[in-house]
Point group: C2
Chain length 230, copies 2
């Protein structure tokens, strides 16, 4: 029985197919098979391939749908007129709220792998690459880092993205605390609390009398809290 209900055509049909794919991914996570998606759409594989070329095309299109929203939210948070610490917290909270609201979708955005034999394994998925670039741009335009600005902002963009990705994944799986507390924990880390905190009694410490074991220059005897320029 071919085409009893006249299917929409062109771009409309494509949207329908993406909706079906969305449902399957929502249900089975990334790595859903093309067959499964086709079945969900009530059709067979070749149609999917006509519309999207290959699997990457499909999940790419599916990804873009959701990336734009997340990216816009993060970008907006990065430009919120707040004190810097509050702005950072706002960005962190925005991301965590997003992955919390629809975990499967953001698993797709953050770990779209599932059979990708590209020799060059880049850690950050496209969506996260874009987020990293947003952070880099924000740091570059908002924070005065002197001559090291370009390098530091690029590095920090990736670093912060990876940090929040890993911490966010763990938080999603374990739910060790409410979201606000997670935001504080990460912001505290970025705010140098690791540097400011005191030593614990039995902890290892810089050997005062004997010279350190000659592996790195080890520089000055003590580093105060204010960061070095490197």
């Amino acid at each position: 029985m071919p085409t009893p209900p006249a299917q929409p055509t062109g771009e409309l049909r494509r949207e329908q197919l993406l909706n079906a794919a969305d449902r399957v991914v929502q249900r089975e996570g990334p790595g859903a098979s093309m067959n499964a998606i086709a079945a969900e759409a009530g059709i067979t594989k070749p149609i999917l391939y006509r519309h999207f070329g290959d699997r990457n095309g499909l999940i790419g299109a599916l990804t873009e749908r959701h990336t734009s929203g997340l990216l816009a939210a993060v970008r907006a948070a990065l430009n919120e007129p707040l004190e810097r610490r509050d702005r950072v917290e706002h960005v962190l909270d925005t991301y965590l709220a997003a992955i919390e609201s629809r975990p499967q979708v953001y698993r797709l955005l953050t770990h779209p792998e599932a059979g990708d034999p590209t020799g060059a394994g880049s850690a950050l998925a496209p969506a996260l690459r874009q987020i990293a670039e947003e952070i880099t741009k924000a740091v570059q335009t908002q924070v005065d880092l002197g001559a090291d600005g370009p390098l530091l902002s690029e590095t920090w963009g990736r670093a912060v993205t990876g940090m929040v990705l890993a911490a966010g994944d763990w938080w999603l799986e374990q739910r060790p605390c409410p979201r606000a507390r997670m935001v504080q924990a990460l912001a505290d880390l970025l705010w140098g609390r690791l540097a400011a905190a005191g030593d614990l009694p039995g902890a290892v410490a810089a050997a005062q009398p004997a010279p350190p074991p000659a592996e790195e220059p080890a520089g000055e005897p003590a580093a105060e809290q204010s960061p070095r320029t490197g």
Copy 2:
């Protein structure tokens, strides 16, 4: 002509097979096929499956080989008797030196995916999970974080691991600077340089007269460098 040169047996043979697998992964990256590995070893697939059960078994065994070294190095660095900042730099340098020295091997450790349809997509590979746990343990035993210690150290372990993973991957691909500079950039981030740096002229800032756009409490008007407790 079966068995003209008497092959070693048992554990020895297993090591040989792992050597072959190592060579293939070195050459083709993770995602190398079982057929390719078998061919490199001069045999056929079923033998590999007899020794390692399935693909996960093989890459697991292969991974453990290298994980121990990296893990030991990181653990040692975490307990080096240095000033805290120098210790952190030492850890960062240890990791970056490792991934620099044998990129393909550490790509295997950090991104072993390549076809892993496990529904629960955990971001951190086993090797990185172990590193995160080491960091957590070190923070917990060395740094005085008060009542928040357990949560913060766990969070920070994952966060720092993800941060160095993402930044390290980017650094390996782009080589934007020598290793020492990368170490400084990351240590500076962890040392609160983002909090300490000044504003740039045209940057967005907290709106003094008008109230902020009513989305988060936004707390005190200004946060000094010393971190809040959360």
